[in-house]
Amino acid sequence: MRILLIEDDKEAAAYLSKALREAGHVPDHAPDGDQGASMAADGGYDVLVVDRMLPKRDGLSVIEDLRKKGDHTPALILSALGQVDDRVAGLRAGGDDYLAKPYAFSELLARVEALARRRIPDAAETVFRVGDLELDRLSHTVARSGQAIPLQPREFRLLEYLMKHAGQVVTRTMLLENVWDYHFDPQTNVIDVHISRLRAKIDKGFREPLLHTVRGAGYMIK
């Protein structure tokens, strides 16, 4: 997919462009706010990756302007600030996700792919299916091979999020943010343990495992 990268740090931009290309995407790069705004306005991008502090023009104002013009291309904000109130300001300006520097590339990639996926309207989708696993969002039931699997409410939301992003890497922080609505670093591997409990329920006793660990990145259901 086409990704517009608005980032003034040349080295970081070159590194990101290369890594995104290797991941199978088509990145374009704008070195400042003005150029970024005009390139984004031309359209055709699936995701914008916008640094918050840019020469000539602040990254948040670029996004705000796009939103005012009715352009809803998903935008990921990168910031060195990374505090709670900065994140809130970023999302309020029309950003769709927020990532604090320094970040792992795997984290950025997972979020970019998750954002692109959001463009596909899935609100109407009431049943997620991955292989023989089925999750019904209306009746709150999960079944595999027709066999009902009882889940705790939080486990259900965890699985729902994973299945919504089936085939994509979902990182631990994405899970903590979206399933628990916490943005702090939990220090210990709290998410891993929740995942292994979920895995025990949906994969145990079945020949084909669906919930996979992606080394150094996170988890993926497929």
């Binding site: 709670v84 109130d85 809130v88 320094p102 939080r154 702090f184 670093d185 343990v193 929740h194």
Partner: protein, 461 residues
């Protein structure tokens, strides 16, 4: 600036000048009013007297002719304090009276109202005097002049003038006294305050302004300035603390990081070797980032910036959420984690994010260090309401922290002996303490007999 310029700019001088101005205007008005009113009154009296005398003399003339008038005038003119009288014929020759000389044009006017003239008295002194006179022409053509000397009025005017001068002298004296009082007693306090603050600005951070205990406005001012200085000093030491700690505790892992890369480069040039070194480097830098983030977060919370949105939340829900998040980890570590909340929601204006993180840090600590030597480990999380205070508690049944070490455990980067072997930044508890302070509360480490009980008390209002 000149010495005079300096004095002029003082508040004491300005106050005294205003004092003089206000009272001068007041007394000037007062005196002018009195002198004007009395002048009017005296004039009226003079006119009345002249009119009465003229009336009497006219009566005499009608009864006894000119002869009678001259007789009466001769009789009255030599009494002390007499009025002025003059009778002349048409040619201006003086027939009777006690006026020696008067300007001719006065006699030729025959105005009905009295006029002021200068004249010379007949009785020997040659002084020119001022008088109020009225001239009437008798039917036979003779002129009759009656007047009163205005000397009394002049005397009165002099008295008023004297009073005005004395009042001015008195006011200047009073203003000088008030200047001395204000500058000595009041402004000296202000001077002492500004001298103290200059001293503090020059680097004496521990210095404070003098509070005399009199409870006046200067004491109140000094009190609040002192409170401000306390806060500034606290913040400054906070910043200094952070930079010291960054220097000390971040340099160590940075050195380690650098050494590892160096060793890898010096070692055999094979991919596996490099890979292992790079992976270790990423891990180490991640740990560094975490420490750095925690430090920045504490600094920001302590600076009192509105980090995170303060919203109306139910403390019970936060406790349940965090307990639910950590329950599997605790379970895996063989620790039983229970959460007890109040039957009613405990609403508090707080940052859900920061309260959650504080509780998470406490649970994390309890899992790492709170296991008893033998028997099952247990962590009890609770939210209760005590009056207007929210009490959040995390209690374990482990070895606890000796009373002497508790204060130290709350400080940044302090890691008690037992925890040194475990991973961690030494910032967990200081972050909890900072979160409590941000919510106007405090944390306290207590004894659970056995175990450690960490209590956060946050005011609900």
């Amino acid at each position: 600036m000149t010495r005079i310029g300096k004095v002029v700019r003082t508040t004491a001088f300005k106050l005294s000048a205003i004092y003089i101005a206000v009272f001068s205007v007041f007394s000037l008005f007062f005196i002018l009013y009195i002198s004007y009113s009395t002048n009017v009154l005296l004039n009226q009296q003079l006119r009345d007297t002249i009119a009465t005398e003229l009336l009497g003399l006219s009566d005499q003339y009608r009864v006894g002719g000119l002869q009678a008038v001259v007789e009466v005038i001769e009789q009255r003119a030599h009494q002390p304090g007499a009025s002025l009288y003059l009778v002349t014929d048409i040619s201006g020759r003086i027939l009777a009276g006690n006026v020696a000389e008067v300007a001719n044009d006065v006699l030729s006017t025959s105005s009905i109202d009295p006029i002021t003239v200068r004249y010379q008295r007949y009785t020997g002194d040659s002084e020119q005097r001022t008088a109020l006179v009225q001239v009437v022409r008798l039917p036979s053509g003779f002129l009759l002049l009656v007047g009163r000397d205005t000397g009394e009025r002049e005397q009165f005017r002099q008295i008023i003038g004297g009073a005005l001068a004395w009042a001015l002298v008195l006011m200047i004296a009073l203003a000088t006294l008030s200047y001395i009082f204000v500058s000595r007693v009041v402004l000296r306090r202000i001077d002492s305050l500004s001298a103290s603050s200059r001293r503090i600005m020059e680097g004496d951070l521990a210095g404070r302004l003098e509070v005399t205990g009199s409870g006046d406005e200067f004491d109140r001012l000094a009190d609040s300035l002192n409170a401000m200085l306390d806060r500034i000093e606290h913040l400054l030491y906070g910043v200094k603390d952070v930079s010291d700690n960054i220097a000390h505790d971040l340099k160590t892992p940075l050195t380690r990081l650098r050494n590892r890369v160096e060793t890898a480069l010096a070692g055999p040039a094979d991919a596996a070797n490099y890979r292992a070194a790079l992976e270790a480097t990423i891990e180490e830098s991640d740990q560094l980032i975490k420490t750095f983030n925690a430090l920045l977060m504490i600094a920001r919370i302590e600076a009192g910036s509105p980090d995170g949105e303060m919203t109306e939340i139910d403390a019970n829900a936060v406790v349940h959420d965090v307990a639910e998040l950590y329950e599997p980890v605790a379970d895996e570590a063989g620790v039983e984690l229970t959460a007890n909340t109040a039957p009613q929601p405990i609403m508090i204006k707080a940052s859900r994010e920061l309260l959650g993180q504080a509780l998470a840090n406490l649970i994390d600590n309890a899992i790492k260090y709170g296991a008893p030597v033998e028997g099952a480990a247990h962590i009890a999380l609770s939210a209760t309401r005590e009056g207007d205070t929210l009490v959040l508690r995390v209690a374990d049944n482990g070895p606890g922290i000796p009373a002497d070490d508790r204060e130290r455990a709350l400080q940044r980067f302090v890691r008690l002996e037992k925890s040194r072997t475990q991973p961690g930044s030494g910032l967990g508890l200081s972050l909890v303490a900072a979160v409590a302070r941000l919510h106007h509360g405090a944390i306290e480490l207590g004894d659970g007999n056995p175990g450690l009980v960490v209590t956060m008390r946050l005011p609900l209002k």
